[in-house]
Symmetry: C2
């Protein structure tokens, strides 16, 4: 049985990238490796839409998130966190770990935190050091309006810190235009790589904040060390250079398509999934769905634990279930990374068959037809 | 862009098989390699549904076809060929090369040769040495009724020789039950491997015919040498042992599913493609379509050269066009090997989009819905 990984990380990786991982290991302190690192940084900047520095960590995405807290907020300083799901809560946990004076802007699961609330809290607390948010809150599938939130923040001394781990590379993210000062990204989601690398972009404003303060309580994730070494196309500690070489393959593929096109195609896949859901009488969980992910409420009468299990065991389609309080209440289907419109139509067919397996009456073909119609709008040329 | 190979050979191969090809090369004259060859032969017998011997050639499928002619028919002897397309014509060319007295049973492209015609020719010519046919005539997509044809042949001294290169491993083929004496198969179609290996099963009746005659005009393809060596789990010339090791991986996968299930699923994919074609007002070219392949006539108003090119360049879906006199008149879409129902639905979506690209009015969703409904009959359990 074919296995199709459509979880919001890790995602499928192209053969070219996986084959790069199979190349013999060479030494890492070489001129060739400096060129490789230089190319990786250059490509990452293009994908992230930033002219500022990007550093590479051998870590999971959480490492980059930790660096974006420990290097910025000192004990007792104010940090605002947009908390609308598990990943917003991770920002809050990190802020607590580093003893920030935490101001949480909470939203119910499935809802967004509005730009208006961010504006209001910054007006009330002009001494906020940083505002932490998600590009895609992967646990609920929502997308905050980061462009508008960035507008509100850039007029203040606060930094805008975004967890783009899940989404950057598939979902529109205009880092510099939106005033994002620190953008954390992971290799294993939209960047079409296995896990192992994390990235952080750092604006001039963020650098000035860091330079004006004493050394941070950080060693492996001491961001200034990485920035100094990145200027020499190097890393302070052993770089995961075979992963970087493979990441370069995937980044080239993304940029060959072009980010504007990738974003538009990702949005089309999202619209197709939502149309298919509508045709199958399924409800999206998110009030403002991110393009990289569709989160669907498990419908009445369907066993929410059995559904993702059956999709995997019978159809080879690996989706994610809900986390925490959403356990067995939603399923989460990614359309980011090495996935295309043809995959989306096929996955919808598997949703139809699996729902019928679980006893729900299904008008077979309704979902795939709706998805195919929407995707035709994106793909079919008209004169 | 993702690349999906849905030509009737070569077909996609699973990662497990491709990874086996990446293992270091070891020496081939070893006890380990004899065990490997023994396992390969045992698995091939199960897939081919034969209790008789199977030999392995390092060659393309045509090599096995040549062996099934040069070792059997002597100059001036009568050979019957069912000729309903390019591959039937290949049998005829081989028979001419070995100076057989060729009796061609021709059918127009898209039509089958009926069992009745085979019966009649054998009645008229009781001295026919062998009858040559295809399991799937891949150029037109037809499937002759081999079970009935075998019934007619087995009552005579003639041998029944089948080119199962395209189809065996996906399409029902009961070698012994249908009285097939020599079955030629290639690695790169339904057996989920790249090209490089060919196989030939040899019945007791075929062996007796060979043993009663002088040595054949063959060296590399001298079948009796292969049979003698196969009895020792070896080959007369250097075996392509890394290919054999990889083939074992794919054969194990097939047998884990089970041939009856594989055949049924292949037939369901064929029915789904035909239903989709009907819903999109496309006509199948074959009067009796093989399960492993759907051949569609290029509809009026659509550029038959442009269609397959666009499917590949814009959607990454590689189908085959027509051959010889069918050039630009049909497209050929395989559903054999490492392909599943989810792929089929996705490929239908690409057919819809590409037809619209080429100016044909398309009721988007009609094809995928029809395919999804048919496949639901195969996959969805009812109580």
């Amino acid at each position: 049985m074919k296995y199709r990984l459509v979880t919001p990380g890790p995602s499928m990786a192209p053969a070219e990238t996986l084959l790069a991982l199979a190349r013999p290991v060479r030494h890492h302190r070489t001129p060739e490796n400096k060129s490789l690192t230089a190319e990786a940084i250059s490509l990452l900047k293009q994908v992230f839409c930033t002219k500022y520095d990007v550093v590479i960590f051998a870590s999971s995405g959480t490492g980059a998130m930790e660096a974006a807290v420990s290097n910025i907020v000192r004990p007792g300083e104010k940090a605002v966190v947009l908390s609308a799901g598990k990943w917003g809560e991770r920002w809050a946990e990190l802020c607590k770990t580093y003893q920030a004076n935490l101001i949480e802007l909470k939203a119910d699961y499935g809802k967004v935190v509005t730009p208006h609330r961010v504006e209001a809290v910054l007006r009330e607390h002009p001494d906020v050091v940083a505002v932490y948010a998600q590009l895609s809150e992967t646990s609920t599938g929502v997308e905050h309006d980061l462009a508008a939130i960035g507008q509100a923040i850039r007029r203040t001394p606060s930094l805008f810190v975004v967890d783009g781990i899940s989404g950057v590379g598939a979902v529109e993210c205009r880092t510099d235009d939106w005033g994002i000062d620190l953008l954390a990204v992971g290799s294993q989601k939209a960047l079409m790589m296995p896990p192992g690398l994390a990235f952080l972009s750092v604006s001039e404003k963020a650098k000035q904040v860091m330079e004006s303060r004493p050394a941070p309580p950080a060693y492996y994730f001491d961001l200034q060390k990485y920035l100094r070494k990145a200027a020499e196309n190097d890393t302070p500690y052993t770089p995961a250079h075979t992963l970087i070489a493979a990441q370069v393959e995937s980044l080239r593929m993304l940029l060959n398509v072009g980010m504007e096109t990738v974003w538009r195609q990702t949005r089309a896949m999202s619209r197709a999934m939502l149309a298919a859901a509508g045709a199958l009488d399924l409800r999206p969980f998110a009030e403002r769905p991110t393009a990289g992910l569709t989160v669907l409420s498990v419908p009445e009468g369907v066993d929410g634990a059995a559904w993702p299990k059956l999709l995997e065991s019978k159809y080879g389609v690996k989706v994610a279930g809900g986390q925490g309080s959403l356990k067995n209440k939603v399923i989460r289907i990614a359309h980011m990374g090495y996935i295309d419109a043809i995959d989306v139509v096929g996955v919808v067919a598997a949703l139809e068959w699996s729902l019928a397996d679980l006893g729900r009456p299904v008008d077979f073909g309704a979902g795939v037809a709706a998805a195919t119609r929407i995707l035709a709008e994106e793909f079919v040329s008209r004169d």
